[in-house]
Symmetry: C2
Subunit: 233 residues, 2 copies
DNA sequence: CGCAATTTTGACCTGTTTCAAGCCAGGTGG
DNA sequence: CCACCTGGCTTGAAACAGGTCAAAATTGCG
């Protein structure tokens, strides 16, 4: 079950530097002490909010990984974005619309729940917040465009190679990194079946281009993957 | 060739009501008279800006239709958004990034070119502009998510039916409406080949579900199309 | 150890692309 | 005014990528 762990305080927040409140000056942090969003824990697959629900809060992810998923009436699904610590999501209420997707944790997570009304007021008063939110929306729009290119113009192996390269970027392309997505979740993200994902990964392991141990992955031959991936620009 | 037609004046702009300046009070319009963006004409397929170019201006479309296209190094392309009159595009410069896509007119167009530096200043001074831009970004993000679902989770016929229904919505689903996209442009948008698009459209014409004359289209049996489309919610 | 869940693999099938003609409408020039 | 050309659209046949279904292998876990 989800559990409220108490109230958050921006002043002492460990991940504030990664959030939309990063640029707020110390003075402002004192000033907005009345703003105490709830800190909430969710376990894996325990939905934070459902597609279609009225959107009265946005969320900032403090720990873990969340997938934003859209579902078709016939049950087919598509992951439209992965959320990492520091990222915020669920702003549909700002335009008076219900949530456009469901938010489902990939593992145990901790979020900071931000009532939109209060957030709106803060945003008005502090241009730094305003600005940070704007930048993130534009960035997300760019990422969404990139993803549409992946889904619309690339083949299975190209999408998968490109995904692995992007995923491993933080470790410079030659270290081990956690891959907390199951085969079927990778499939949901890339518009492929679990079998297709598994086949290519197995094949590339046999080729010696990647290796995997206990949910961690390591790219050995990025040249080959890069070539497969149809990398843009 | 593109041609500059002069300077725009928000006060007398015919499409201001549809733009991000819609909510500005009359008083503000007088106040910002120094803001005179260029009005520019482009002919069909004459690129407004290229993917990768430094982004120093955003644009508001005054007339016509624009496609935002991403291109892979191997030449494959994907239309990531269609822009209609009143819509703005090309804000990548706000986060210091080059354009993430190319903007190419589908027909003769007229745009209002907004220098980002000036727009940023206006946005700071006038919360109405700020707010209107925010709403549009959120809306575009939602539409992008919808499109990812289309591309990732739907079959060819489902994508096409769903596209036609959305396109014809403005005329209440039983009038004639302009369809200024060629088969190959529809394909680029939906991640399909021109042949696949043509086959389904021809088939549905034979079934008597749609008709088409001189670039205009008319849905006769929306029930059937709706069923095909896997309509969400 | 033994069970359940996930992943892998194989065989087969289907939807979509690819390649190749043919068609049709609109525009041009003889 | 008509033959011709051009570009977009349609249609068919064959190839192929990826999906589906089913079974086996592996992994994680109590």
């Amino acid at each position: 079950m989800s559990s409220i762990k108490g109230k958050g305080h921006c002043r002492s927040c460990a991940i504030r530097q990664m959030s939309i409140f990063a640029q707020l000056p110390e003075a402002a942090l004192v000033e907005i002490q009345h703003f105490q969003p709830s800190i909430i824990h969710f376990s894996a697959n325990e939905t934070v909010y459902h597609q279609g629900e009225a959107a009265s809060c946005a969320y900032t992810l403090r720990q873990g990984l969340v997938r934003l998923v859209k579902t078709l009436p016939n049950g087919r699904t598509q992951i439209v974005r992965l959320i990492r610590a520091g990222d915020s999501f669920g702003f549909d209420g700002f335009i008076g619309e219900p949530y456009n997707h469901s938010a489902i944790p990939l593992c145990e997570i901790e979020v900071c729940r931000l009532p939109l009304a209060e957030l709106l007021a803060l945003k008005r008063q502090h241009p730094e917040i305003e600005n940070a939110m704007m930048k993130r929306w534009i960035q997300h729009l760019r990422e969404a465009e990139d993803m549409m290119l992946e889904l619309g113009a690339k083949k299975a192996s190209e999408r998968l190679a490109s995904f692995l390269i992007r995923w491993c970027e933080p470790v410079g392309l030659n270290g081990w990194i956690e891959l907390p997505l199951s085969r079927s979740e990778i499939g949901e993200l890339l518009g492929l079946t679990i079998e297709t994902v598994s086949r290519f990964i197995s094949d590339w392991k046999r080729q010696g281009w990647i290796e995997e141990r206990q949910g961690r992955i390591h790219l050995l031959d990025t040249k080959q993957l890069q070539a497969l991936a149809c990398v843009d620009d």
